[in-house]
Symmetry: C2
């Protein structure tokens, strides 16, 4: 068995760190991730710098990225203006960021749940015309801070519409990290019963309540083979209450190595990168594996 | 379904913290754990104070413990002298601490793997004569720092001999925390194939590499219903390389609550206790749930 790790550290991770790191550090970070064996690395986002100053250097970063055979650099694109810029800079894969709940759609996208699709439709349509692949994040799939638990059927409705636009994959996000394995099972079963199998689904867990790996294991057992993770566990979630955010890629690889599941990724190389990056971010990595291996690297 | 949480914080946790907390703090800690709904709380150990100064007050602690209906306070007993003291102080349940590997037996018990049973035999025999229940820890069930991975068959041989002495349960410990779900499955299957079912087994995972909850989930799916955990995740392992030690009881309860598995334990009450204890220990709890809930408690 093989699992594809969709690395989100350079985008989702750095976007949610207080420190803005220079473009040279980002470039070295991404180069190190590729050298460690990661093949899908979400590099940055064309969100307006007013909202995400951490990624204001998206164009400059992309222009200087090392092109490595077999390594893909998808980029998050919020709207048509972002798509224009992505196309100008040679991007071949994009991701859009939708919401599973009404309240988060209004707070994060300034749209109603329904009208988010009007925003995405021309983005996805034009991207497909240009031959790009489009992934869709679905955030707050398990609960959101305002509405509480989210019904699987609601997530499936949102996901179905994103797939119908032409997205090749949904990344199901537990944005505040409160989900547990039973909820994962219920959500994946709800998708399956509507004809969306695990080959169209990725999982995106946050470790805020320590549940990310148990949830990932559950998804793997149900056939999911793409898992989002952030090297070093960098990034938090501005809507969650803890500094702990994304599942750390190292903790994921440790488990997959133990399960005999191939990823092509070297956990010690990633750990060395996280230790290096921690110096730039000014805070230690929250990854358990990074902390445990720190003394031998 | 119901899971019994075997709480090890007051013994395994405090034993491995640098700070020695006063007996009054231990008594309040244990009282709070019982009030939060824990029913099996390993209170202390009759190990010689030269080896474990943190628990030198075992007798004084036990004499002043609140007796709560339905709450059991097992005590770790290394040898006959320890058993004598346990009996003097009204203990009704003990635990012994064995090794699955030759090297750890020599380093921790100053015995060969085989001769550890000569030490345990009179302890267990006399304890049973006095009507005590005896649990057996099996440490280093997955790997040890000197010998590397440990074969399941070797753990089963050690465990079988401990059960034959009259122990009612084995607690299978991943003392350095490197195990993953595949190894858990292999170990539990090896026991099953030798006639030792999950009703005789407990699991004791360390979160050093972030794997504890995924491993626990795997054990639950295989029928194990007793799980060791330490409130706040306190305690490390002197043989592991990280400050992160035992699985935090809060992280475990969060998952079990989500799975609809009853424990009788209130996670917010435990979290409040961990925040209080962190002040006494002088370091923040490594539990993800404690960190996440800290701002709302």
């Amino acid at each position: 068995m093989r699992v594809t790790i969709y690395e989100v550290g350079p985008r989702d991770g750095l976007q949610n760190e207080d420190v803005v790191v220079p473009v040279e550090v980002k470039r070295e970070f991404i180069g190190r991730l590729a050298a460690a064996g990661l093949t899908t690395i979400e590099a940055t986002s064309f969100v307006h710098p007013k909202w995400v100053p951490q990624l204001a250097d998206a164009a400059e970063l992309l222009d200087g990225l090392p092109r490595v055979p077999g390594v893909r650099y998808p980029v998050l694109v919020p709207n048509e203006r972002g798509l224009d810029r992505a196309l100008e800079h040679g991007v071949t894969e994009i991701a859009i960021f939708g919401s599973a709940t009404e309240t988060f759609a209004r707070r994060n996208l300034n749209r109603s749940l329904d009208s988010q699709f009007e925003m995405f439709e021309p983005v996805v349509g034009r991207a497909l015309e240009h031959g790009l692949r489009v992934r869709a994040y679905v955030s707050m799939c398990f609960a959101d801070p305002w509405e509480g638990p989210v019904a699987p059927a609601q997530v499936v409705r949102v996901g179905r519409r994103l797939l119908d636009l032409g997205c090749y994959e949904l990344s199901l996000g537990d944005t505040i990290g409160i989900g547990t394995p039973a909820h994962v099972t219920a959500l994946l079963e709800a998708f399956q019963s509507e004809g969306v199998g695990p080959e169209r689904l990725a999982v995106h867990f946050h470790d805020t309540y320590g549940q990310a790996l148990a949830n990932t294991l559950t998804a793997l057992r149900m056939g999911v083979t793409t898992v989002d993770a952030s090297t070093g566990g960098i990034g938090g979630c501005p809507y969650a209450k803890s500094a702990t955010g994304n599942l750390a890629t190292e903790d994921l690889v440790w488990m997959l190595d133990g399960l005999g599941i191939e990823t092509g990724v070297d956990v010690r190389s990633l750990t060395a990168t996280s230790l290096w990056l921690a110096g730039r971010l000014g805070r230690p990595s929250p990854s358990r594996v990074v902390q445990a291996l720190a003394k031998e690297i």
